[in-house]
């Protein structure tokens, strides 16, 4: 951001700007409807609309649309069954909601001139903190104070305990941070890189075709990353759930 031009309307960071579309204030807290909120609403409307439309017929032999919805269901259901076991299917709605929301946000962000909600750390941190609180609550609800045994691995000699327990505790507490930073940094870095290379197309003149080709290829990779990050967020949620539900270390 050394030059002033980079800060302008076409700078690589401009796409992450939040604009207030309608200003609200609730008890002195700024609760304006922003472009971020708008894209969340669009995403949720798309998910709900798609699933409602796809499961409308509920035929035994699925139509094309219905089989897409069934694929999505089976994909997440298998993930929960493999990582948490059948006891975890109780939490399937939570995991499926997380996955579809993050996927919709990431994919909506790939449309040019749209807004990527998940490129803001406050959004991803809210999601990760929700996962953390839910998982911890489930752990304590199922095992009571025995859930604290998670920090005391079995088979470790007692004189190592003062070292192992803080490490386990820190690795547990850092989960929401690593979960949110991974999603946020991937989305932000990818989108910034696309914009930076798109800027080279004009400034390189006749050789601009090289960054143009790169940008096209990288857009494809970004679609993969958008899906992969939604998938990884969900898989890690399942693994954390497994700790809370089954508790074998």
């Amino acid at each position: 951001m050394a030059t002033g031009a980079a800060e302008g309307a076409h700078g690589p960071m401009h796409q992450f700007e939040i604009n207030r579309l309608a200003e609200f204030e609730i008890f002195g807290i700024d609760a304006s409807f922003t472009n971020s909120s708008l894209f969340m609403v669009i995403g949720v409307a798309l998910i709900v609309g798609f699933l409602a439309l796809a499961t409308n017929g509920r035929s035994l032999v699925p139509t094309r649309l219905q089989s897409v919805a069934e694929l999505a269901y089976e994909f997440i259901a298998n993930m929960v069954r493999e990582n948490v076991g059948t006891a975890g299917m109780k939490y399937f709605p939570f995991v499926f909601t997380l996955f579809s929301f993050i996927l919709a946000m990431n994919m909506l962000g790939m449309i040019p001139y749209s807004f990527t909600v998940t490129s803001h750390i406050i959004v991803t941190f809210a999601l990760a903190a929700l996962v953390f609180v839910v998982v911890t609550a489930i752990g304590f609800a199922r095992h009571g104070l025995g859930y604290l045994k998670l920090f005391v691995p079995e088979g470790v000699p007692f004189w190592l305990m003062p070292l192992i327990v803080p490490i386990e505790l820190i690795s547990y507490l850092i989960r929401p941070i690593s979960l949110s930073v991974r999603l946020f940094a991937n989305m932000m870095a990818g989108h910034t890189m696309l914009k930076v290379f798109a800027g080279f197309v004009v400034s390189l003149g006749i050789f601009g075709f090289a960054p143009l080709l790169f940008t096209i290829a990288f857009t494809g990779l970004e679609f993969v990353v958008a899906f992969l990050q939604a998938f990884i967020f969900t898989v890690l949620t399942c693994i954390y759930l497994n700790d809370a539900v089954n508790m074998h270390h």
């Binding site: 993930m79 493999e82 990582n83 930073v181 991974r182 932000m188 870095a189 998938f231 990884i232 898989v235």
Partner: protein, 74 residues
């Protein structure tokens, strides 16, 4: 030294964390590939583990990138 220059140099230095992430991710995918070529039938079952390892390796590097961003924009 000019504080702004020091800020940019610091942000650049913080990005060194991504070297480790690059090595780690390369290691994971390289080992997965060599394992998958030796025993292709076992490969699909380990795909989830591959992605988890990839995610964990990447996270450590991204912490450094986060520090860089905090220095630049925080």
């Amino acid at each position: 030294m000019d504080p702004t220059a020091a800020k940019f140099i610091g942000a650049g230095l913080a990005c060194f964390a991504l070297i480790g992430a690059g090595i780690g991710i390369g290691n994971i995918f390289g080992n997965y590939l060599s394992g998958a070529l030796r025993n292709p039938s076992a490969a699909p079952g380990q795909f989830t583990n591959l992605l988890i390892g990839f995610a964990l390796a990447e996270a450590t590097g991204l912490f450094g990138l986060l520090i860089a961003l905090i220095i630049l924009f925080g």
